[in-house]
Amino acid sequence: MSDVTTGRQLPNRLDNPLKSTLLSWESLLVLVALAIFIFNSNASPYFLNEWSLSDLTFNFTEKALIALAMALLIISGEIDLSVATIIALASTMMGLALQYGADTPVLVAVGVGMGLLCGAFNGFLVTGLKLPSIVVTIGTMSLFRGISYIISGDKSFGNYPASFGWFGQGYVWWVISFELVLFLAFAVIYFVLLHRTNFGRRVFAIGNNDIVAQFSGVRVDRIKFILFCLTGLMSGIASVLLTARLGSTRPSIAEGFELEAITMVVLGGVSILGGAGSIVGVVLAALIMGLVTFGLGLLNVPGIVMSIFIGGLLITVIALPILFRMWRQRA
């Protein structure tokens, strides 16, 4: 993913005044989020209501959970396009376990475990066999959803126990849903992991130059393998939440989630070439995505128009800093 092999523009983003640039990027995201929030509250009378805002969080928490792990993966210079189909496969496995009379703890274990297994499979193909992650995950994307289709065919699984449904529909306190609490907890964990541990430092090192990282004693393959496992694990957790929220499983579940998760990561200021980014940005980007889709939904904007907004937002956010830099160089 990086330009290391070509020798052109060796990225050395760690030398930049990282803190100031990230701060400005994140404050830009905060401003965008505030603007959308104010726009939404003016545009629709139903927006500024604690239950509406609570519903809003259901819009993005599952994708945002995946985006947290995906951010680390993209910072390390890899990508995983199969996350949505991991959700489908884990959900199908949970449905299958339900057919055999599994209880709630078993269901959760099956979902999370299946996600971890799929992530490990991706990680093995990429690090063990030295294959490019983008092609591998296009392949496993087809494979995982294909297995779901083989297992469930044209049927759907349903009738999950009520205690299982709590994971997707339950509230911890007042309007604060379990999904939101879980997301915030994982956001803190990933923030600490990426910005406060050796592991996070190594992820940045690999993303900037994996050859140098290797020679500096970083176990590049092992860390990449762990990152793929983490992404699979988060997809498994997202699968538990989504299945519990919808109360049913079909092989076509979570279609298009991978692109939304990647959109959150890129919108959050993570460099798609790897080596730069922050968890705070990703969390803010997830919030912005939730605000935009929920606000447009309240205004009865159809989904296909919503995707125009998301696409436009993404291109603008990527292009603006580049255009600004070009303009400043010319001036």
Binding site: L125, I138, M141, S142
Partner: protein
């Protein structure tokens, strides 16, 4: 139908021949391979990297437009859902056809064979009584196998080149 083949196939054949000529007989084709192998060296040999990549995107867009027209003329229906998910099918076809995702390696014939392969998988499985629900998993496995085999082939080629270089040096 023209000469026993549908017009759709003739269009595909003509486009494939045009792209074969483009990739093997024109400066643009050479430039595309050169940029894929080493963009820095391409800049120093006087290739306009930006323009060449721009042309590649324009060509991809133009062919997609043609396909949109052919789709409408075949199914006589246009909707937003037309060909959704095709981008990954097409990348998969290229990979199965031996085109390196890292760039610089691949032929038009390979891409054509890759596309034919996924076409055969999708259309032949129901004929031999395999449930259509198996299609997706089988094409996924095919993509993974193709990537693994291609990567092995490219790696071996690399070693051979290194060996001959050493011999030549001695």
């Amino acid at each position: 139908m023209v000469l026993g083949l549908p017009v759709l196939s003739w269009v595909a054949i003509v486009v494939a021949i045009l792209f074969f000529l483009l990739m093997t007989r024109t400066p643009l084709g050479r430039a595309l391979y050169a940029i894929g192998v080493n963009p820095t060296a391409s800049v120093y040999t006087g290739i306009n990297v930006g323009l060449t990549k721009f042309m590649a995107f324009v060509l991809a867009g133009a062919v997609s437009g043609l396909c949109g027209y052919l789709w409408i003329s075949r199914y006589v229906i246009a909707s937003v859902e037309v060909a959704s998910g095709y981008e990954l099918t097409i990348v998969a076809a290229c990979v199965i056809g031996g085109i390196s995702i890292a760039g610089g390696i691949g032929t038009v014939a390979g891409a054509l064979l890759g596309a034919l392969f996924s076409g055969v998988i999708n259309n032949a499985l129901p004929v031999i009584n395999i449930s259509p629900f198996w299609q997706m998993a089988i094409s996924g496995t095919a993509i993974l196998l193709a990537v693994i085999l291609n990567a092995q082939g490219e790696r071996r080629k690399g070693r051979v080149i290194l060996k001959t270089a050493e011999v030549a040096h001695v």
